[in-house]
Symmetry: C2
Subunit: 313 residues, 2 copies
């Protein structure tokens, strides 16, 4: 049997046929056109599924379920989007019913960050571990919690907004409307802001070799590796912010393993080695309890799609 996984993003929709053990047989991606009515978007998703079936020779009768990962706040029991800023239709759309107009199959939905966490816990970096916390450092800071092998959604399915914990009282403005959220310090967006601030303050820094509009998440890391003092400070402070939020979450959730995802993880141990060390020192009972495991996500951009396909389990 096969499972359809859909990662419905604000920019692209990725649709894949996935095996029971989380392997992608084939996937395709189309632009979301998030300004369009939901009927059109769901028509596109259905077309993608039919195209995948035709190209792989898999029969519709071999499909067991369809899973959709999406940003926003959901009523997963009803299969309903409550609200999401990413789509023009915005709120109160029953994704399950919409999809079932096209396919007579069970349809599951979940938050995209939760889907990624589930995928890493089931078939990725935390495979076989039941209590997993995943944090993704990207444009924002997202996350998901897996407890006893299942996504933990809490009441109103609004749990796991891991980026939105204030770590700096009256700090930087966050997209969620608060000030000082972890996201506003540990996201790549935040790193870029921190990099630009350091460039302005340190005209001699080699970071200034990069034109302002080309500064990205790598700028400070590249310069730090060349020994630039201001860049080393940016990186160290960024690592401290990441570690602080992680330690907060470990003290609340105490997962067996922490999976860190997002493009910035390509920096590998250079980024995460010191983060891990700082975090271990900051958690409650440090030195008295075994160290918490921290690993880099394995599934990359496919995690959401795979996790959505695995929702049936």
């Amino acid at each position: 049997m096969y499972y359809i996984g859909i990662d419905l993003g604000g920019t692209n929709i990725a649709v894949g046929i996935v095996t029971e053990d989380g392997k992608i047989v084939k996937k395709i991606s189309v632009p979301t056109g998030a300004h369009r009515p939901f009927e059109e978007i769901f028509q596109d998703m259905a077309d993608c599924i039919r195209k995948l079936l035709s190209e792989t020779g898999i029969a519709e009768s071999q499909l067991k379920s369809i899973g959709i990962g999406t940003p926003g706040c959901l009523d997963t029991k009803q299969g309903m989007l409550i609200f999401a800023g990413n789509f023009k239709y915005g709120k109160l759309v029953n994704y399950r019913e919409l999809m079932q107009k096209h396919f007579d199959l069970p349809v599951y939905i979940c938050n995209d960050a939760n889907a990624a966490a589930l995928a890493e816990a089931k078939v990725g970096a935390a495979k076989g571990i039941d209590n997993v916390m995943m944090v993704t450092l990207g444009t924002g800071v997202g996350g998901g919690i897996v407890i006893d092998g299942k996504i933990y959604e809490g009441h109103l399915t609004a749990a796991g907004e891991l980026g939105h914990i204030v770590i700096v009282h009256e700090g930087e403005y966050c997209t969620c409307g608060r000030n000082g959220c972890w996201e506003a310090y540990a996201s790549v967006t935040a790193l870029i802001r921190q990099t630009k601030e350091a460039m302005a303050k340190n005209p001699d820094s080699i970071m200034n070799e990069t034109p302002l509009e080309k500064v990205n998440g790598r700028t400070s890391f590249d310069a730090a590796k060349r020994g630039d003092k201001a860049a080393l400070e940016v990186v160290a402070k960024y690592q401290e912010y990441i570690a602080d939020g992680l330690a907060n979450l470990v003290n609340v959730l105490c997962p067996e393993i922490i999976v860190v995802g997002g493009g910035i993880c390509k920096e590998g141990d250079y980024l995460l080695g010191p983060v891990n060390e700082m975090m271990q020192k900051r958690v409650f009972g440090a030195g008295l309890l075994p160290e918490r495991k921290m690993v880099v996500a394995q599934l990359g951009n496919d995690a959401g799609l795979i996790g959505a396909a695995l929702l049936h389990a």
Copy 2:
């Protein structure tokens, strides 16, 4: 059938006989003598149980289990204390085996803050609700998480250290070794510090009618109710700190209900009304999702004992 609940604190041990539905039949309290060897402390607990049986006429055969709530980090499966700063013996003591030398009964242990949360979820302020977060504002800030009607311990049973989330980067020193923890801003200890600081800065404040050594958690509240400007500011800022930590935790856990405990809750709506309002505005999806329920704990100092007795369930 009856259940023994024991709240083993650093100062006192409270022992009670509890009914299936969480009512205390009778309880007694003795000093812990935390400097003593664990054998002596467990002998005292056993003596208390026998005394309660004798005074109530309940037979040992009518007891179904013994539950012990205790500070510290535990291996609840083994019934083992891993470490706790509160007792001289400190670490690696098997509470279950020690108690079973006295009684041939199932023995359960759990963290005292978790026990209190379980009691409030089962028979207290959150009775009948399955997903509960309890926060106690006392000398420190403690907490417990109940998911699907059960204590959530996480890996290493170290979850639920809700006071130890940094909300003020590089802020006040916390007893856990970090700086800026919620506990260092929202505990009564912190409120007293904030009160004293405001008194020093505002010599005209009527808070200065209280001698420094008599300042307590009520000082600022009493003066604020009399319209004292400096006191009003202390109270408002304290409320903001509480709300900030609560909103952080709601964003991570999204419980169905938040139970707030600790002596300071005697201030009732004067304290918690504004806290609730600030928190509701700060949580992710504010205004788009229904408000989270917040209630005051009902079981007071008995919560730990009752929760320990309910561990069997």
